[in-house]
Symmetry: C2
Subunit: 144 residues, 2 copies
């Protein structure tokens, strides 16, 4: 693996490492200051501070003891300093708003990274749940 | 609006125009040959041909008479030749696998575009349903 690919993969691995330590300060530092992030239900966060605040809130509650496992990281360099990294993930140990344990979830995370002053940061991210067995689900109905 | 932003917005507008004409040949031409696309249920298509084949299949069935409306297009230039374009959308007129009319859906589409030989093409896309009223839903339950 090239040095660039290794550095990019390290950022994506740090995403789950910080998540699993519930260290949202370190998590936020993976993002550029003006990064944007769309989560699995279409919340659109603008800027590192919003991304951090949202994750601090969920990691104090539903994601407090959750564990995120990121599978292979597929990397495509768009330019020498811009790359798309995409990974399947699994989440376990998360709770409902009422505090009940929930079954595991799977999804696909897209991270767009750019290198500035030698450091790769996430400048954009979008996350999508994997809903098995359907091509495109009805939005207002039961999904399984 | 700068010429670049206008050209990028034109590609995103063409995404919905081609969708609404159900012209999947023209739709496919908006993508670079090695483009990737993750749809709202986490299907990960690799290459223009796979993207085209999947959309030809759905536009012969569930999306045959569907209408996609793309709201504002938020554009961020990453380099002079690479841009992220993100838009909220609404879909109506789509059917269930059994052929029943389904309620409208909303989501957020991320397109990553690159300019090659003066032409902006989509090199990566990821789509996410908007599920209102929840921060991050259980994957195997009712969502509303």
């Amino acid at each position: 693996m090239s040095d660039d690919n290794q550095q990019i993969e390290n950022v994506v691995r740090a995403f789950s490492d910080c998540w699993n330590r519930h260290d949202m300060e370190a998590f936020a530092q993976l993002f550029a200051e003006d990064a944007e992030f769309v989560n699995v239900v279409g919340l659109w966060w603008k800027g590192r501070e919003e991304i951090k605040r949202a994750h601090v809130a969920t990691h104090a509650t539903m994601f407090k003891n959750s564990r995120l496992t990121i599978d292979k990281v597929a990397i495509r360099l768009v330019t020498p300093d811009v790359a798309v990294a995409r990974s399947s993930w699994e989440l376990s140990g998360h709770l409902s708003p009422a505090g009940e344990a929930l079954p595991g979830r799977k999804g696909i995370l897209m991270n767009l990274l750019a290198r500035t002053n030698g450091i790769w940061k996430i400048i954009d991210a979008q996350n999508t749940d994997i809903i098995e067995g359907v091509l495109a689900p009805p939005q207002h109905g039961k999904r399984n």
